[in-house]
């Protein structure tokens, strides 16, 4: 579905952030991108939705060549790529509902969005998504009144309201506690499965990556040094990616995982029937 070929990024300062990146992401696959700070993980996913301009190579989403788009065409392509951020990147002074509805901005005109008069289909979908991520009670709260985990759930709902084909997720758990991190990762994982979304997830936490991803790509100094199943990620490979360290002492995932899973999972059955793609009906 998403194909990166020969993608490179050189900053005007001469720093080379990415070099000859070749990756293909099939539909519905959740790919974790791991690597040390400064390896180019953030740059890579920002090249895909062109928040950062790649200097070399091609990126294709389905039949669309993303690297050559501009103006209206670029905005249209961005609608189909939802992005989730490390610091949530919500607009603090807007309400939760306004933040979620901002995921729909690419589909509505300026005055409708300025006056907050979104199409009823979009509003209904926003209600369903907030229900799905467990924030139905917080719709009218201001975004800065929420906790970290709740804010990330708003971020997820915003990204999904775009009716994306692909999620670009930048360090979703780096500002969260261990338990909330796992809940958020599980939620992203479940939503990808429900909607058959592909995802690229930048993540520092190797244990979380192994637990929740279908595939792991290791990046070091702007180059791919590992691409394989989570089970293939051995201590030797971690050393190739990150450098020398005693990897065996890395704490294993918690055993009490299943208890945490009950709350989102019980909602999942009811919600997955209702939450359907609105790409066809929602566009105005």
């Amino acid at each position: 579905m998403l194909t990166l070929s020969g993608v490179g990024k050189r900053y005007p300062t001469g720093d080379r952030a990415l070099n000859e990146i070749e990756v293909t992401l099939p539909k519905g696959q959740v790919m974790a991108l791991i690597g040390p700070s400064g390896a180019g993980k953030s740059t890579l996913i920002r090249c895909v939705n062109r928040l950062v301009e790649p200097t070399e190579g091609n990126i294709r989403l389905d039949d669309v060549e993303l690297t050559s788009l501009s103006g209206h065409k670029l905005r249209q392509a961005r609608r189909s790529m939802g992005m989730i951020f490390q610091e949530y990147a919500l607009v603090d002074r807007l309400s939760v509902m306004e933040n979620v509805l901002s995921g729909r901005l690419g589909y509505v005109g300026f005055w409708r969005s300025f006056l907050r008069r979104y199409p009823q289909t979009a509003v209904a979908e926003a209600f369903r998504l907030l229900e799905r991520v467990g924030l139905a009670h917080a719709i009218d709260k201001r975004a800065d009144a929420l906790s970290g985990g709740q804010r990330q759930r708003v971020g997820i709902a915003r990204a999904l309201l775009q009716s994306p084909k692909l999620l670009l997720v930048d360090e979703p758990t780096a500002s969260l506690d261990p338990k909330t991190s796992r809940q958020i990762m599980r939620l992203i994982r479940e939503l990808c499965a429900e909607r058959d979304l592909g995802a690229i997830i930048n993540i520092h936490d190797v244990a979380l990556a192994k637990q929740f991803a279908d595939r792991i790509v290791g990046l070091r100094a702007g180059e791919i040094v590992f691409d394989g199943q989570p089970s293939e990620l051995t201590a030797d490979i971690l050393t190739t990616i990150y450098g020398e360290e005693e990897w065996d002492t890395t704490p294993e995932p918690l055993e009490s995982d299943e208890q945490n899973a009950t709350r989102p999972a019980s909602k999942r059955t009811q919600a997955s029937n209702v939450v359907t793609h609105m790409a066809t009906g929602g566009a105005s």
């Binding site: 939802g82 992005m83 990147a89 919500l90 729909r104 300026f110 969005s113 971020g155 915003r158």
Partner: protein, 271 residues
């Protein structure tokens, strides 16, 4: 380097090197000498005979100003109302004009460096001219009256509000803006969702602050014929009616006090 090694081999640390310390002493010496020199020059150019009877002159002025002729106040309500209108309408007009200029001037929202330079020129030229001088110019163009005052206040406010607002825009968090751009939002939508909510408190605070300043400035615009209570002030001074002047002073003082109180309340409510 401030870090050196003592004879016992222990590392030592001082805030400055010896050289830097001496340079600082010298800089202080130069600064104090310059101050004393200026003091001497000013003293030589002052006619101390006039200053010597300053106390007597001041006392004379105060005796002529007291008691204030309170009945005169009844004639001042209308010009005071004009003054408030000049300040409020002028501020409103200035804010409306400054708002787009600030977005064009801020580095992160400006569409093009050339547009940014043009917006900065507008801001600087508005700021470099005092409202009293704007009023003088406008009275010659538009004729005397409240309209000249309103426009003078507005023109001066563009620079003030524009500068503070564009600085606020440049200091916003970039990540929400990035997130809104990533949804496929248009440029204007990014402004209205990503930027505007972040600068609203600053914008409201700046506007109220400028209104507060403009109340004070509009009290003197009448001196050059631009309407308001300054006209009465000018007339009273010209006819040496000092007991009227003191009533006007007290009235201006009370108004400024009230406007300070209102703006403090409003700013507190917003921020």
């Amino acid at each position: 380097m401030p870090v050196s090694t003592a004879q016992h081999g222990q590392p030592q640390w001082r805030l400055r090197t010896t050289r830097a310390q001496w340079l600082q002493y010298l800089a202080w010496l130069a600064g104090v000498s310059l101050f004393l020199l200026c003091w001497k020059l000013i003293s030589d150019n002052t006619m101390w005979v006039f200053v010597e009877d300053a106390g007597r002159q001041g006392a004379d002025l105060i005796s002529r100003m007291t008691p204030p002729e309170w009945s005169y106040a009844s004639q001042l309500w209308k010009p005071m109302w004009d003054t408030l209108n000049i300040a409020t309408l002028g501020t409103a007009l200035g804010i409306m004009l400054a708002f787009p200029v600030a977005f064009l001037a801020a580095r992160n929202t400006s569409p093009h460096p050339l547009v940014r330079s043009a917006a900065l020129v507008i801001i600087v030229s508005s700021r470099s001219i005092n409202s009293l001088i704007w009023a003088m110019l406008l009275v010659t163009i538009l004729g005397p009256g409240v309209l000249a005052g309103i426009i003078a206040i507005a023109l001066r406010s563009i620079g003030f509000v524009g500068k503070l607002l564009y600085e606020a825009i440049e200091e916003i968090h970039p990540t929400p803006v990035e997130a809104i751009s990533a949804t496929g939002a248009s440029r204007l939508q990014v402004m209205s969702y990503g930027v505007l909510p972040q600068v609203m408190p600053a914008f409201a605070g700046i506007s109220v602050y400028r209104w507060d300043i403009n109340i004070r400035e509009s009290t003197v615009l009448g001196l050059v014929g631009a309407g308001g209570i300054g006209l009465q002030l000018n007339a009273s001074i010209n006819t040496l009616a000092w007991d009227h002047v003191s009533v006007i002073f007290l009235m201006i003082f009370a108004t400024v006090l009230v406007s300070e109180w209102v703006s403090a309340k409003v700013r507190h409510a917003i921020i």
